[in-house]
């Protein structure tokens, strides 16, 4: 009895001490979570705003903002225009990132192995099954590729990374586009599934002969073995910041509806072929204008002062013109 009374007193005490700071709640994609939280930390000091961003996945972010349970949603895959319309949502880009192939091959260091988009398609379609396949040997004459089975690893959960990677495979292979396509989860013809970026990396790290795809921030933070890719111009490029920026600067933002720009397989000798933007989703009819204004204040701050933080975490900042256009649209669509 006394215990229950103490518990109740504690609970009431907690009510009394409840802090009333200006809080913004966002939820969605896991990919931008590190940069959003880091922005949140810096903006708290600079602009007095507390961001609570919960990485529940792109699909979850879309659903939560449709249900209006959060102040903004976040998604790696651009939302279907019809759904944006019916859900009264505004979609804006925040940062860009890249997806990189990772491999586990004895004797092969990072960025030594050369791959092409069509070869990746054939590997994930189960058509190339050995690392010493003539097509791979021809591309990599300097290395003695072993007679080892290739184990493709994909994301078992719905994922923006899968959407970006499958978009790339669809862009380079009409057959893939027709048979498998691009979505947050697709029907993989071959390979095994793992949950999350961490699951894919762990499986690839533990399985000799495995190949997988992860977001670049993940590969560089965990020092995974990445591979080179041949870009649209026929040049082999390593997954470096310069290669990502080269691809990002080529994006045709002006003609992208809802900012859903396509950055996959961009032209340019230095371009990395698998780059994509990540988006936030905002209600056009905010219930609470004060909170809506706080969200705007936060992202305005991030556009203006967040580039260095994004770069430090291996993301690519948006071009200045795109940020300007995004803020203009924001002002026009949300009063």
């Amino acid at each position: 009895m006394r215990l229950a009374a103490t518990a109740l007193a504690l609970g009431l005490g907690v009510f009394a001490f409840a802090a009333q700071a200006q809080q913004i709640t966002g939820a969605g994609a896991t990919f931008p979570a590190p940069v959003y939280t880091k922005w949140g930390e810096a903006a708290k000091a600079a602009a007095g705003l507390e961001l609570n961003y919960q990485a529940i996945g792109s699909g979850g972010g879309q659903n939560q903002i449709l249900n209006r349970t959060v102040d903004f949603g976040a998604s790696d895959a651009p939302m279907d225009p019809a759904k944006l319309e019916s859900g009264k949502l505004l979609q804006l880009p925040t940062v860009m990132g890249a997806v990189v192939p990772i491999v586990n091959l004895p004797g092969i260091a990072s960025n030594q192995l050369k791959l092409t988009g069509p070869l990746l398609t054939e590997i994930y379609a189960g058509k190339i099954v050995k690392w010493n396949d003539p097509k791979l040997v021809e591309l990599n004459p300097g290395f003695a590729l072993p007679n080892l089975a290739i184990a493709p690893v994909y994301r078992a959960d719905g994922s923006g990374t899968t959407f970006v990677f499958a978009s790339y495979l669809s862009a380079v292979s009409p057959e893939w586009k027709e048979k498998v396509g691009a979505a947050t989860s697709v029907k993989w013809p071959a390979g095994t599934g793992s949950k999350g970026n961490d699951g894919v990396s762990a499986t690839v790290a533990n399985l000799k002969g495995a190949i997988g795809y992860v977001e670049n921030a993940f590969a560089s933070q965990n020092k995974l073995t990445t591979a080179q890719l041949r870009n649209r111009d026929g040049k082999f490029v390593s997954p470096t910041e310069a290669a990502f920026v080269a691809a990002a600067s080529n994006g045709d933002w002006a003609n992208a509806k809802n900012f859903a720009v396509n950055l996959i397989d961009q032209a340019g000798a230095a371009s990395w072929p698998i780059v994509s933007a990540t988006f936030i989703l905002l209600p056009k009819d905010p219930k609470d204008p004060a909170r809506s204004a706080n969200v705007r204040k936060f992202f305005e701050w991030a556009y203006k002062s967040g580039d260095a933080i994004a770069k430090g975490l291996d993301y690519i900042a948006l071009p200045a013109a795109v940020k300007e256009a995004a803020l203009k649209t924001w002002s026009a669509e949300i009063k």
Binding site: T37, E41, N67, K195
Partner: protein, 295 residues
């Protein structure tokens, strides 16, 4: 029975057969004993290896900042303060909401509705709730609280946890009250006491140990629950004690940090797992010593 008896040979009649039978029984006994010991050993090995992993990885992540700082972005040397406090608040409030309801339902089932149709129906529903996946409870609270109110909140998390507490407390309370001999009840009634006095002053007192154990089991269970909190209290990166805003919790933080790309987050996840395990262990030990002391 008589057939079995006639099969067993007496020692005087057939010494050899009797010895053979004895050997056979001993052999069977040894085999079953070995199997039992192996099973126990396997269970203990798993438990020990879980605890060893938890200790070795968790202690590495433990430091003073874990208790003094809230969660921070990767590389900023954050702690778990907001998650620890959030879990304490939600567990205590969840238990405080769920326990009285569970106690009353359990009492109703044991004392008022033992064999009635309504009692059986309530018992059946409560048992289903007991085995319902906790993610369903989270989704239920999401649908009836979070979605209509338009926001995740610590209070929704407390409600979800309370819904898990109720069936556990119902079951243990009913079972414990049913163990009390009917002579005791008859004696109380025979002395002229009303039924409510019998329940409150005699039955509860006699069943106290079991009922308290049930409540503590429920507390231990909800302190480690992730699924019902994912879509109710959501989680909070910042220090917040408001029940109307999203609230952090240790299990959700562990869930998010354990699979992250950043080593300091992974270390914190292990430290958090160690803290929960230690807390649940402490609750159990304290409860046992308290109960033993009162006896």
């Amino acid at each position: 029975m008589s057939a079995t008896l006639s099969v067993i040979p007496g020692p005087a009649k057939d010494m050899n057969a009797s010895l053979a039978l004895g050997r056979k029984r001993k052999r069977a006994n040894r085999i079953v004993k070995t199997l039992c010991l192996t099973a126990t050993g396997l269970g203990l090995i798993f438990l020990a290896s879980i605890l060893a992993t938890l200790l070795s990885k968790g202690i590495a992540g433990l430091s003073l900042t874990v208790f003094t700082t809230s969660t921070l972005p990767p590389g900023s040397h954050g702690g778990l303060l907001n998650a620890i406090v959030g879990t304490l608040i939600q567990t205590v409030l969840g238990a405080a909401i769920g326990t009285p309801i569970g106690l009353m339902v359990g009492t109703y089932l044991a004392e008022y509705a033992r064999d009635s149709a309504l009692g059986n129906a309530v018992r059946f529903v409560s048992d289903i709730l007991l085995s319902a996946p906790s993610i369903l409870i989270g989704l239920f609270v999401y649908q009836i609280v979070v979605s209509p109110l338009g926001g995740f909140s610590g209070f929704a998390g407390c409600l979800a946890l309370a819904l898990i507490v109720i069936p556990i407390v119902v079951r243990t309370t009913e079972d414990m009250l049913r163990l009390i001999p009917s002579q005791l009840r008859e004696a109380v009634i025979g002395l002229g006491a009303p039924k409510w006095k019998m329940i409150v002053l005699i039955c509860y007192r006699a069943a106290r140990e079991g009922i308290v154990t049930g409540i503590l089991l429920a507390v231990a269970r909800i302190s480690g629950e992730t699924a019902p909190l994912l879509f109710t209290s959501l989680g909070n990166l910042n220090w917040s004690l408001s029940l109307t805003k999203p609230m952090a919790s240790l299990p959700v933080t562990i869930y998010q940090y354990a699979g992250s790309a950043f080593q300091d987050w992974v270390d914190l996840a292990w430290a958090g797992a160690l803290l929960i395990t230690a807390a649940v262990l402490a609750v159990n030990i304290v409860a046992r010593t308290l109960l033993r002391g009162r006896k």
